[in-house]
């Protein structure tokens, strides 16, 4: 096994990887940008390397700096987490070149699966259903018109090198086809340096169901069941659960087999996720893409299976055989994950920055928190606004949703605006509770993105605000001796300019 692993990431996923590394007796090495000095992902590492700079480009996306940091710190492996360079074949290759193990698939697999068209070819070769599409074509191509003729509108134009919604457009009318293709191509060129686009049939209001796959270097591949990720805002998942309320055992088996067949066909090694669109009406499913990395929502799979996916990533990268058999995969209970974002759910999900004046997450039976922040830390504009993930497990779906809802109502976060009230509203929503939802959930239910405070609650809030506005701005007890006397740094008493904020009852 490796002895020291550099985690080329930040935030909750770096903390989470550190936890597993330390539990396995491996030393995690953190890297960090200037705004991340003293961040939880550094505190939980055993060693750390500062990366000069603040932007992602200068730090967590800088291959040369990361490889140098790994060499300087003596790391023999690199875990990329998700996002940043996790699916960048150049990074994986740069690690290989200096003899450092990249915890993930081969650069070749990554390049293959990162190309939407080539990955589609693999799916077809593996006998996995894909969304009908036209090959790469130019605006004005007869192939494009022919495809539109066959499948009708609306249809999708997508970037071959795509991802994250860039270079992707919904074409509603025939007369928009050429213009939309041109625009998508320009966007794709700008984003990926590759302007190739293709057309695809549009699946209206699908559900997003994905299968976790594990494959070792000895040809053994299994799946770990599905995750449903249909509650999304701006094409980004915010709530995930397993098992999916949309699958029958028969459908689960077919989709799982398809995921394994596809991973085998791609020669895939390590942990990966095969994403499908599911048409809940027909029960048809279509291959969407395969993510060649650890997924944000992997903890729900861990919760029902009692596995540590990062541990398996490390073992597989170390050449160990995957000792789990498909028959061993027996999920227990139900798990749901909520992504806690610093963003305003009532203002179009605008990111919020500031200082976390309070950060008191809930805890208790069935709850797991993966957090990348702490009280007193700043939330900057530089990186993704996800602060933490809360995972609730219970033996039934109903109980896991209620556990989550209770925990969200107890999640004390102040200083930035968070999406916690939105997540809570979803947990309480009758459609969601019944499991009847698709990727359009937030659009179908705009009330969820409006504040739902009752008149009584508003009056209570006003009363408490009136009360709080009369309180002295206190000093934190941690700067006060237990006797209530304020002391300067020399331990001597000092004048307290505010009244004590300690024991007090109304006035």
């Amino acid at each position: 096994m490796f002895s020291k692993v550099l985690v080329a990431n930040r935030g909750e996923i770096a903390v989470r990887i550190n936890q597993t590394l330390r539990a396995m007796g491996l030393a995690p090495v953190a890297v960090y940008s200037e705004p991340d000095a003293g961040a939880p992902h550094v505190n939980t590492a055993e060693q750390s390397v500062a990366l000069p700079g603040s932007t992602a480009e200068d730090t967590y996306l800088n291959i040369a700096k990361l490889v140098q940091a790994a060499r300087d710190s003596g790391a023999d492996a690199i875990h990329p987490g998700y996002g940043f360079l996790s699916e960048n074949p150049k990074f994986a290759r740069a690690c290989q070149d200096v003899g450092i193990t990249f915890i993930g698939p081969t650069p070749e697999s990554m390049a293959l699966l990162g190309d939407k068209l080539r990955s589609k070819d693999i799916a077809i070769a593996a006998g996995v259903p894909t969304v009908p599409s036209a090959p790469v074509c130019q605006p004005g191509d007869p192939a494009a018109a022919e495809f539109a003729e066959q499948w009708g509108f609306p249809l999708m134009v997508k970037a071959a090198a795509g991802g994250g919604g860039r270079g992707m457009r919904l074409v509603n009318r025939r007369q928009d086809l050429d213009g939309d293709m041109e625009q998508a191509s320009r966007e794709a060129q700008a984003a990926f340096g590759d302007g190739r686009v293709f057309l695809e049939r549009y699946i209206a209001n699908p559900r997003h169901v994905e299968f976790q796959v594990l494959a070792d270097a000895h040809g053994h591949t299994i799946h770990l069941g599905e995750r449903e990720c249909s509650v999304q805002r701006r094409h980004q998942k915010i709530i995930e659960e397993t098992p999916s309320p949309a699958l029958t055992p028969e459908l689960r088996q077919r989709m799982g087999n398809a995921a394994v067949a596809l991973a085998r066909q791609a020669g895939y090694v390590n942990a990966g996720t095969v994403e499908f669109l599911l048409d809940p009406r027909s029960g048809d499913f279509y291959f969407l893409e395969m993510n060649a990395r650890l997924q944000v929502e992997h903890p729900v799979t861990e919760a029902v299976l009692g596995l540590d996916l990062v541990e398996w990533q490390l073992r597989i990268a170390n050449g160990e055989p995957l000792t789990l058999q498909q028959a061993d995969i027996a999920p227990r209970g139900h798990a749901v994950e909520c992504r806690i974002y610093a963003e305003d759910p009532y203002r179009d999900f605008v990111p919020s920055t500031g200082t976390l004046l309070r950060w008191r997450p809930p805890s208790g039976p069935g709850l797991r928190l993966d957090s990348g922040v702490g009280e007193g830390r700043g939330v900057s504009i530089y990186y993704d606004p996800m602060l933490a993930k809360l995972i609730a497990w219970a033996h039934t779906r109903e109980l896991s949703l209620r556990r989550m809802e209770v925990a969200l109502s107890q999640f004390l976060a102040m200083g930035v605006i968070t999406n916690i009230p939105l997540l809570r509203a979803v947990m309480q929503h009758a459609q969601f509770r019944r499991g009847e939802y698709d990727t359009g959930f937030l659009e179908w239910n705009p009330a969820v993105t409006r504040s739902a405070a009752s008149d009584e609650t508003r009056t209570m809030a006003r009363a408490l605000a009136a009360w709080a506005a009369q309180q002295p701005v206190g000093m934190d007890s941690r700067f006060r001796g237990n006797d209530g006397v304020f002391r300067g740094s020399d331990g001597q008493e000092s004048v307290n300019p505010w009244r004590s904020a300690g024991q007090r009852r109304l006035p």
Binding site: S54, T55, G164, G165, R166, R234, Y346, F349, V350, P351, S352, T353, L357, R358, I381, Y382, P385, L408, S409, Q410, F411, L412, M414, G415, I417, T418, I420, P421, R424, S451, A453, D455, E456, T457, R458, T459, M460, A461, R462, A463, L464, A465, A466, W467, A468, A469, Q470, Q471, V473, G474, M475, D476, S477, A501, G502, Q503, R504, R505, L506, P507
Partner: protein, 183 residues
Amino acid sequence: MTANQGEMRETYPDAGEAYRYRTEAAEGSLTFQLDGGVAEGSHTAITLDIESREAGEGLCRTESGRTHHFAWAWVGPELHLWLDGALHVFQRAETRRRGRAAGAEASEDVLAPMPGAVLEVLVAEGDRVERNQTVVLMESMKMELVITASRSGVVRRVAVEAGQQVDRGMRLLELAPESDAAD
């Protein structure tokens, strides 16, 4: 028994009109009463037991015995109140009015509506701009933002440049006061 009164305004989650209120406090209990018809809603009064030992955190209980956990903090002039998992933001009505009055007399700023990076500044100092004219392009969380002028006027100052990271509320441009423009 301590009586008090004030005027506040909610700014989050829903921005509301200013309202006046009176409070009476005695023996750990607070009675709050909206004073004047400025605030909407059917509940205009409430009585709460309030207990608070930690700085900025407490518990209140309604007359029916229901218990609510709350916390508060000042963020600049804003009073952030957390109540049972939801955030409510208030300002003293005076504070807000003061800010406004000052703004009207001085030049007008074009502010960043959210944190992000400036992609392009489309105007220069001294340029005349029309209402709704695009003046700055920003990128934030993979979205492009088009920033437009809220009124016609002359650009007095450009405060940012392309590539710069800006926080929410940061000034991008300054428009000369109306009176200047009129001159």
